[in-house]
């Protein structure tokens, strides 16, 4: 079966001139879906432009919002306001309160632990249990593995190995992303998946993390954002008056 690879975390601002080049390069590397994270809803023109670039390169553009809440209330406010405006919601977890709340909220799609400090990476067994019950995925950015060297990379690999083992045990979906904003660091999806070998992810799991898992998140949310969606498995097929 041919895999449908996703590039969910391309870090370029939509107004940037590089966007068009990045999108073309992603298509050339074999991706089918692409997304750049927004922190606020993009303007209609920005979104139309970026979608046009993606369409020209035969890519499917996914709208994604990244948010770093300060506390629980901040997170809830963000989700209430923006959940229906974006196809993918990613929460950058910087403290334990936020990461626990995000893991138990169905409206969150992805948890991202950006800190390289292992004390600030809150993906432990308790977090995995919460994420497992809500279907929230954990995202691993591979950029630090490309740019770091020596002890910081060793420490990061150690943290990632522990986190992927926990995620696998609790069946929490893993999404491998790049988090890259430089063209020279862009890699083919299978090359990115091969980096997961460094922290103990099996080849099939790694390939799922760049294809099946992100695709599932996007299609699930597109279904939910459809105006005919009522509940999982229930859709409005036809509207009319009762006879």
């Amino acid at each position: 079966m041919k895999r449908n690879f996703c590039y969910l975390h391309l870090r370029v601002t939509p107004s940037d001139a590089k966007v068009q080049r990045f999108i073309a390069k992603a298509a050339q590397l074999g991706y089918k879906k692409i997304s750049t994270p927004f922190s606020t809803p993009p303007t209609q023109t920005e979104l139309a432009n970026i979608k046009k670039y993606a369409e020209n390169s035969s890519l499917d553009f996914v709208t994604r919002a990244d948010f770093k809440p300060r506390n629980q209330e901040d997170l809830m406010r963000f989700l209430r306001k923006y959940r229906r405006q974006f196809e993918v919601i990613c929460i950058l977890c910087d403290n334990k309160e936020v990461s626990r709340q995000a893991a138990k909220d169905h409206r969150v799609d992805i948890l991202n632990f950006t800190s390289l400090d292992y004390k600030k990476r809150f993906f432990d067994r308790a977090e995995a249990q919460l994420a497992c019950s809500t279907g929230v995925a954990v995202e691993i950015d591979l950029k630090p593995l490309l740019v770091l060297e020596g002890p910081p990379r060793t420490r990061l690999l150690s943290s990632l190995r522990r986190e992927t083992a926990i995620a696998t045990e609790f069946r929490v979906p893993i999404v491998l992303s790049s988090g890259i904003g430089e063209e020279v660091l862009m890699r083919k999806p299978r090359d990115f998946a091969s980096l997961a070998y460094l922290f103990g992810l099996q080849e099939s799991q790694a390939l799922d993390a760049v294809s099946t898992n992100p695709t599932a998140i996007v299609s699930r949310n597109r279904q939910k954002l459809d105006p005919n969606f009522v509940a999982p498995g229930i859709n409005v097929l036809k509207e009319g008056k009762l006879q």
Binding site: L185, M186, D191, S194
Partner: protein, 103 residues
């Protein structure tokens, strides 16, 4: 003695300028050494079979057992001969002949 099984990788180099075979191989070994240490890198059996300077495609050999680690080290490579560089694996095969369409 048991025969060592090998794999050949066709890799596309993207970088400014054209590195020599020696510079390319040094970069490959340096990347593997940074990730796995000297002993780990020595177990990969890395060797450069061919390097087409025109289209910057190289054929690299490694042992079958070390294929995942070699792929990871090729992906982790970011500099060749002092220039920013990227390596994309085009194909993996058990024979050099099968890689000829890529080369």
């Amino acid at each position: 003695m048991k025969r060592i099984k090998r794999r050949y990788l066709a890799v596309q180099l993207e970088c400014e300028g054209t590195p020599t075979e020696r510079e390319l191989m040094d970069a490959l070994w340096a990347s593997a050494t940074r990730l796995y240490g000297e002993v780990g890198a020595s177990l990969t059996g890395l060797a450069l079979i061919d390097f087409n300077v025109e289209n910057k495609i190289a054929v690299v050999r490694c042992t079958l057992a070390s294929l995942p680690s070699v792929r990871a080290s090729l992906t982790a490579l970011t500099r060749v001969a002092g220039h920013e560089a990227t390596m994309h694996v085009l194909a993996v095969s058990g024979t050099i002949k099968a890689l000829s369409p890529h080369f």
